[in-house]
Symmetry: C2
Subunit: 452 residues, 2 copies
């Protein structure tokens, strides 16, 4: 009987993260201070991040040691399984071999704790007592709540009001880890009070929640802010996914022809792909495919420009593919992929054609999710199902070409808190969000003024 899962022992878990910066011939463009338009330096970040993370943000070392305390926390669920999707292969009648890395086995159900645990540790080590963050549907807020409970930090989560009210389960989950969760905009911050004064009935936004979390961290003693994607240090921490996967694929005796992940800010994709892109930079032949929703087609239809990371224009200027910081994507069920920009580091690799981007409609994505659930048994998060859609298409193409293609994708999380989306799909009520051309044009017009 062939092996279904490749499982590493804890002793085989990576003890270093991989930093792709060391292998890029030319560095990505710098992040700029919006006032001076000079590259930002460590001193600009000190009010919001601990020094260890600021150092990782600009590090050039190829490998960075994972401290023992983080390794010990990872061991609560890592190494995660690499699974050969044999039943899916059989259903597709494909000669391709499909593997997936199952990050949904973490306590919060996604890859997010890989960085949350690291961030909580470094903050605690530097004497920080409290972390603040924002969350939309709740995946990131859950991960940081969990991580803070491990390192005895208080955790304050500003949760977008519409999610706070309509998706109570993630909120309750955060509370089981002892986090404070408030609906944003809140009365806790000046920015929240300001918004509530002008728009008392607002349902909130991620942009407002970021403003509140940052303001809270800056204004408080012993508090810092924490971000779940986009930044270099976040992508660095996520490379534990790809480093494990490489060892596991080697044990399986296979090497991927194509590595696939979904992209919102870019952290799970980068986590699985960067250790392989290192090989590609060294001449190895493989493709890395970043998958996004057609409703928020940052990499496939955005422009590469300096733009703000948030709608409230509080962040530095980031060099990235963007739909414009004022662009509000249509409501889709893969809430984690609704971001107007992307990680500058990942965007740099897309520009350099080291990563190819692809977009799918949401009904096509849910079609793939159901095929996967009924063969492999696991209910995927709608975000992760974008990667499944691409993997199925690659496997079908391999069949048509008569190729033994080896496909590896990241299953970034399970869909236990997305069942209302599945219900809509099963009832035939899922509509593909029209991508609004005009809205994009307007947002891109506004963008012109930003970096000139």
């Amino acid at each position: 009987m062939d092996r279904t899962k490749i499982i590493l022992n804890e002793s085989e878990m990576p003890r270093r993260w991989y930093n792709i910066m060391a292998d890029l011939k030319t560095p990505p463009m710098p992040v700029l201070h919006p006032g001076t338009l000079d590259p930002i330096g460590p001193e600009d970040l000190v009010p919001i991040f601990p020094m260890a993370l600021i150092e990782q943000e600009v590090a050039q070392d190829r490998f960075i040691d994972i401290p023992n305390e983080i390794v010990e926390a990872y061991r609560l669920w890592r190494p995660t399984p690499l699974i050969r999707a044999k039943r899916l292969e059989r259903a597709l009648e494909t000669p391709a071999r499909i593997y997936f890395k199952h990050e949904g086995v973490s306590p919060t159900g996604s890859h997010k704790p890989n960085t949350a645990v690291a961030q909580a540790f470094y903050n605690a080590k530097e004497g920080v007592k409290r972390l603040t963050t924002e969350t939309g549907a709740g995946q990131w807020g859950s991960a940081l709540s969990f991580a803070c409970s491990l390192f005895d930090l208080d955790c304050m989560v500003y949760m977008v009001k519409v999610s706070y009210e309509q998706k109570p389960y993630r909120k309750i989950m955060m509370q089981t880890w002892d986090a404070d969760v408030v609906a944003s905009p809140s009365m806790h911050t000046n920015s929240g009070r300001e918004v509530l004064k002008n728009q008392p009935k607002t349902s909130g936004s991620l942009g407002i929640a970021i403003s509140e979390a940052v303001e809270d961290a800056v204004a408080s003693d012993n508090a810092k802010y924490s971000l779940g994607s986009v930044l270099n240090h976040v992508l660095l921490h996520q490379t534990v996914i790809g480093l494990e996967a490489k060892d596991q694929m080697e044990t399986a005796g296979d090497y991927p022809d194509v590595v696939i992940g979904c992209v919102g800010g870019g952290s799970n994709f980068s986590g699985i792909a960067f250790p392989y892109i290192r090989d590609k930079l060294a001449g190895r032949n493989l493709r890395a495919v970043a998958v996004e929703p057609t409703a928020c087609p940052t990499l496939t239809r955005g422009v590469f420009a300096y733009d703000f990371g948030d709608t409230a224009k509080l962040t530095p200027l980031l060099p990235m593919f963007t739909l414009g910081h004022s662009f509000v994507p249509p409501a889709i069920h893969a809430g984690g992929l609704r971001y107007h920009g992307g990680s500058p580091l990942l965007c740099d690799l897309v520009r350099k054609r080291l990563v190819e981007a692809r977009a799918y409609d949401q009904t096509d994505v849910f079609d793939a999710a159901l095929v996967f659930t009924r063969t492999e048994g696991i209910l995927p998060a709608p975000e992760s199902a974008h990667a499944i859609r691409a993997a199925i298409d690659e496997a079908t193409d391999a069949k048509n070409q008569g190729e033994e293609r080896v496909i590896l994708f990241c299953l970034s999380g399970h869909g236990h808190f997305d069942l209302s989306a599945y219900h809509a799909y099963l009832q035939g009520q899922l509509e593909d969000a029209e991508f609004p051309d005009e809205a994009l044009h307007r947002a891109l017009e506004k963008l012109k003024g930003v970096s000139n």
Copy 2:
């Protein structure tokens, strides 16, 4: 760094289930036909179960081979991790070593697929095309839906109406595996129509749902019925938990002084404990603790008697501890533990003092669940939290006695679909269900007529 998890390779997974019947000096009392009061024979079970399962129900062999097809299905998530709860130990400042077997990593989130997959396989092999079952909150219905999707069987789930309406997520989950789910009582069966005629507003009950599922199976061509606990063959399949755990504990260099599991019908407890009780029967010193809610204290306050397994008196007469088949336990959040009786095989071991029983109030159980979530990160099902409560009490007792006690418990499932219960607890709205003495007395009075 000490190991946190002990993980087996797939090749180390058990290839045989353990049948404790082979090691009992005296067999349990027989199950009786309610009409004749004669022991029931295989012919009585043929209309509802396939022959392979009927044979397992009465088998005397010590080990029964697990067919390759079932091993392959198990490999989608098995072997499951054995985790040393080091953070919990530290929080309790106990010299005890606490281990738990994490069955929540299965696709449906509990131990139930261990038997669902086996039952689906044997039915498919004998040409059955469709399985029927009942489900309360949905754990068992999910497991059978998943298993049927693996073996290309249609699956019909009669879901108690109040759960169908108030807990839609489990229903949707079953539908993602392509099961038909109907609210019970339904118009699909005579028993359902009969109930609806007399009580059109009824919220249903597990007893009615069982009646519908059995009637449907018996009346249909190529359909059989499937049960998720209580029966010998179900407990047999679940021994894969304990067999794996024994190998893992051996790798860890430890042997448990006490093995703990929660008990509704008895399948997860028996699964982890029976392979150890085999050692106890051979003279080894260990305790096996079955934990139940004080609101439904079958083993701790019930009487041992012949009783029906269902409220509608459709089943054979089972020799078991019972609160009386007409007893309706108060509503508690551990819905899987609200059963008036228990597995006859497990009850026999309780009578023989090979298993000790213990009951906890639900607030004590949720206290333990939160301690666990905030140390080990995993949100447990309220059912499983009964085992956690007992493990914590054992660890505290070990501390008071100054003993290095080794504690092993079964984490039968995660609590992702139980967050409203956690919400009630966090809000201080959780009340301990009063155990109604009078109701018990009335139910036990009725019982007197049954087996005389």
